[in-house]
Symmetry: C2
Subunit: 126 residues, 2 copies
DNA sequence: AGATAATATTCAAAAGGATGAATATAATAC
DNA sequence: GTATTATATTCATCCTTTTGAATATTATCT
């Protein structure tokens, strides 16, 4: 019996809630780890662990810039898989929070330069 | 963090070599368990175990006819997932043995009525 | 250099999935 | 009824994955 090594390896990397969530966030382009941390609300080390799995599966690549490390998708075809899965799972609407996430990375700081009146805690909620 | 319960459930059902092989065989339409057994060359009980997983995931339905139980796909959308996965995994060619599989079910017996000169053992080989 | 910020890795315990072996069920034939 | 054929289920063991906790690394700032 042929044992589909590549397919299984790929599916294994996908079969995990936090990893699915990370991939969904990265649809919008590269993000730093602290951004993922803010968006998912889980420990940083945990996110790094899941990023490692996705990196080892050849789906992500990282890029260091000063203190921050930015991750991005290098196999965009992954989204045809995820779209097909989402289609089957029902609920085809985007379920990502569209709430602007703010973390400490330079990108976020810059984006929010003109919103200093909004308390940071409120930006992460809901 | 949203935990993608449906997506993970579906992906879990797929992430297994024997189950992928079964789904590939069932692309061609419903088959009895003994057919899958002949095609995959593994124990019957093992196949039943994997069929149970696919059934519990809502992908398959069975139909009894005398001694034999025939399984068929009831969520054909699964193949858009599998096609996308196969695409990413490379090797887009069909890798199924196109060798005619012969088992003891009525379907197979009928198909081979006029081939009595060919020893059955040879039909399963290669 | 030391302090701090962001991220990564290692390790161990717990949970979950895979598999073989044995046995159970269901339908048919005699 | 018993025997036989096809398929299903249960159980125990092994193996892998998940997760938390602690620690390490890398870069920047002073």
């Amino acid at each position: 019996m042929y044992d589909y090594p590549e397919e299984v390896k790929l599916l294994k990397a996908l079969t995990h809630p936090a990893r699915l969530a990370i991939l969904e966030i990265l649809r919008g382009g590269e993000e730093c780890v602290c951004h993922l941390e803010a968006a998912l609300g889980v420990r940083q080390a945990y996110i790094s662990q899941q990023l490692m799995v996705l990196r080892d599966a050849g789906l992500l690549q990282d890029r260091r810039e000063g203190w921050n490390v930015y991750y991005r998708i290098i196999r965009p075809e992954i989204y045809s898989v995820l779209d097909a899965v989402r289609q089957m799972a029902g609920m085809p609407e985007a379920r990502l929070t569209l709430t602007p996430i703010v973390c400490t990375c330079p990108n976020c700081k810059e984006e929010n330069t003109h919103q200093v009146n909004i308390p940071v805690e409120l930006l992460n909620v809901r």
